[in-house]
Symmetry: C2
Subunit: 212 residues, 2 copies
């Protein structure tokens, strides 16, 4: 496996994976980089360069075997593995994530949901119980929790994140609009919805300015 692959290349892999999954579902067996390029609106040379980071995935000219390529990219992304996931915060966003059946299908197994609100304790989402945040430590120590999705307000997020690290969680999927400042090398992936909306607002504002 190649070692020093740029984060830009890694960032494009999920999109390749998504397109290949759609092609596979549609019964497509082979596809050339030119055809894939047209579908995905990236250049064929970009596709070949990206794939060359991983050994190329098959013969050029003859095209790629869709299922094989799908599986190979899936393996690189770790989707052939199973990861145990918990959700901290059973609000709308936490519930939305809990209800994504696709995550389960791809090996992200939801094993617990935690909330500070005592009224929610005993309820469950897709048969996964909502537990009190008091039980977080013992739960993580008893289960092998790889990923914690953090869907709580920003005020409490850094402290809870620190606890998650201490208790042994391996990675945090952070939706709280705050930087968590965790130990160097700890894996955090941020989804900052407000920042995404601001990008949209910037683009809208710039396009209105241009049309005046």
């Amino acid at each position: 496996m190649a070692e020093n692959i740029s984060s830009a290349v890694i960032g494009r892999l999920p999109r390749y994976y998504r397109y290949l999954g759609d092609l596979k579902e549609a019964g497509v067996v082979r596809i050339s980089s030119q055809e894939l390029s047209k579908k995905m609106n990236v250049t064929a040379s970009q596709i070949r360069q990206d794939f060359n980071n991983f050994g190329g995935f098959g013969q050029q000219g003859y095209g790629y075997n869709v299922e094989l390529l799908y599986n190979e990219i899936g393996k690189i992304l770790g989707l052939d593995k199973n990861f145990n996931m918990i959700i901290i915060g059973a609000g709308n966003l936490g519930q939305a994530i809990a209800n994504y059946k696709d995550f389960d299908r791809r090996g992200f197994k939801l094993v617990g949901i935690f909330d500070v609100n005592p009224k929610l304790e005993g309820l469950s989402i897709r048969d996964i119980p909502i537990m009190s945040i008091d039980k977080l430590e013992s739960f993580i120590k008893e289960h092998n929790v790889h990923i914690a999705a953090l869907t709580i307000p920003k005020l409490h997020a850094p402290a809870i994140a620190k606890q998650l690290v201490d208790y042994g969680v391996k990675a945090i999927w952070n939706f709280a609009p705050v930087d968590l400042n965790l130990p160097e090398g700890f894996i955090v992936e941020n989804v900052h919805l407000a920042e995404s909306l601001m990008q949209l607002s910037y683009a809208l504002t710039a396009s209105e300015r241009d049309s005046n």
Copy 2:
């Protein structure tokens, strides 16, 4: 206003805005690029370079006026304006977005929620009515809708997105895990949660491989 600002710079503005907002709330009046650099974990020269795209925002050495800088970056991001927003899809994710009071406060005014499920019609979220998707066209034509958040399954997303463009919506905030293929230049901002989770899974897999 500078014209050709790289998307990387634009991409960093919301994070500056967030930090400056926190500093402002904490009562900080002035901050040097060195102090901001330490807080944000980016180099001071990166900060100065980024800000130079917009004229520099004040004297170096003497530091930046926090409130002024916050307001200026807000203006660049279009946060001094009001945008009317609708949400298509009143599931968990749509509800989560509808319930973000912060969006309202920043000028994103939720004016309508639409869903295909007739059972939801007549209900409302934060006093915003959930309407049948049949009313989408007349609603958009009667209201000045800038942004549509698309929180529906991928199967229907491209067709609905095309309608939104035809009816006059200016930008789409897309949460459906599909590329919408809209007319060149139409503003789309994607939030692909599954792809974000795959990045996390990649990082977990790579770190497990390294530690073996």
